[in-house]
């Protein structure tokens, strides 16, 4: 937004973090209703409508919408939940994992759908909230299964001596309580943020080169920049699918680690 308006006056201003802070209603403070929250509400309404409409009239020979819905559900149920958690008690985690997958997927894809074009997860609070659910849940499940003392004992990898254990155990604690939640949230955030920033850079940069810079060479360069924006958009769609999948897969892995019998 700012990059486009400032481009005319004194040279090109590259897009930065402030372009992602877009309050729509209310004040500019912490309680502002931003574009990200509007997109999030829109996505929840859209998902509810889509899933209710797709499962209203179920038939043995599926139609097109039912087929798509069932294959997305099948991906999460079979190749994420069942393969990772194990066929014994994966079914109770499927609703959570499927909700997470489809919420992240739709919100990510909104990053390239023309009238919306804002990936919700490029505001770090959104993936952080999703990660908090996973973080609390896997510690809760682990503690309920083994008790508080037993849970902290089970974080120690088996089969190493006491000397090496003193070195390894703090690292394990850092992994479980810091690295896992932080990377889970920041991976999704970072990919969405960086990808959208790159698109913004190519598009506003191309616009500056074509309309403001002047000269035929600059206009060719601007065209190349716009073509790169197109290529990166296609790449973004791939990344958006992949990040939704990876987030769900890692959430399933962490939950599986908490409910597994052997460490």
């Amino acid at each position: 937004m700012r990059a486009q308006s400032a481009a005319g006056s004194d040279g090109f201003v590259a897009p930065d973090v402030s372009d992602f802070w877009q309050p729509l209603f209310g004040t500019d403070g912490p309680f502002a209703v931003t574009r990200a929250s509007v997109v999030l509400v829109l996505s929840v309404v859209g998902i509810c409508w889509l899933l209710l409409a797709a499962t209203r009239k179920l038939s043995l020979v599926p139609g097109r919408t039912q087929l798509v819905t069932e294959s997305v559900y099948g991906l999460v149920r079979n190749s994420v939940a069942r393969d990772v958690i194990g066929s014994k008690d994966f079914l109770r985690f499927v609703p959570l994992l499927f909700s997470m997958f489809i919420l992240i997927l739709v919100n990510n894809l909104f990053g390239v759908v023309p009238p919306i074009q804002f990936p919700t997860m490029s505001r770090v609070a959104m993936p952080a909230a999703l990660t908090l659910v996973v973080f609390v849940l896997y510690h809760y499940l682990g503690i309920r299964k083994r008790g508080v003392v037993g849970y902290f004992k089970s974080l120690m990898p088996p089969g190493i001596g006491i000397g090496l254990g003193l070195l390894i155990y703090p690292l394990e604690l850092i992994t479980y309580f810091f690295t896992r939640p932080v990377t889970l949230a920041l991976r999704l955030f970072g990919n969405m943020f960086a990808g959208h920033l790159l698109l913004l850079l190519f598009i506003t940069g191309g616009e500056y080169l074509v309309f403001e810079a002047g000269g035929a060479g600059m206009m060719v360069a601007g065209g190349v920049s716009w073509f790169m924006a197109f290529v990166m958009t296609v790449f973004e769609i791939l990344v958006e699918f992949l990040q939704a999948y990876i987030f769900t897969l890692l959430a399933a892995l962490y939950l599986a680690g908490a409910v597994a019998d052997e460490h």
Binding site: D83, T183, L186, G190, I246, L250
Partner: protein, 68 residues
């Protein structure tokens, strides 16, 4: 020329994970090529290794925008 040195830090922090992610998926492809029926198990391990390796690059990206 103006800029922020923290972005260079991100570039440096991406070198190691770049090599590491390459190694993880090279091993995954090797494993699947040798034993296609182990794909399901290997995929999980590969993505876990990928996630752990990628963490440093993600920290780098976050810190590049924190210290500006």
């Amino acid at each position: 020329m103006e800029g922020n040195i923290a972005i260079l830090g991100y570039g440096l922090s991406a070198i190691g994970p770049g090599i590491g992610v390459g190694l993880v998926f090279a091993a995954y492809i090797n494993g699947v090529a040798r034993q296609p029926e182990a794909k399901g198990t290997l995929q999980t391990i590969a993505f876990l290794g990928f996630a752990l390796t990628e963490a440093l690059a993600i920290f780098g990206l976050a810190l590049a925008f924190v210290f500006r």
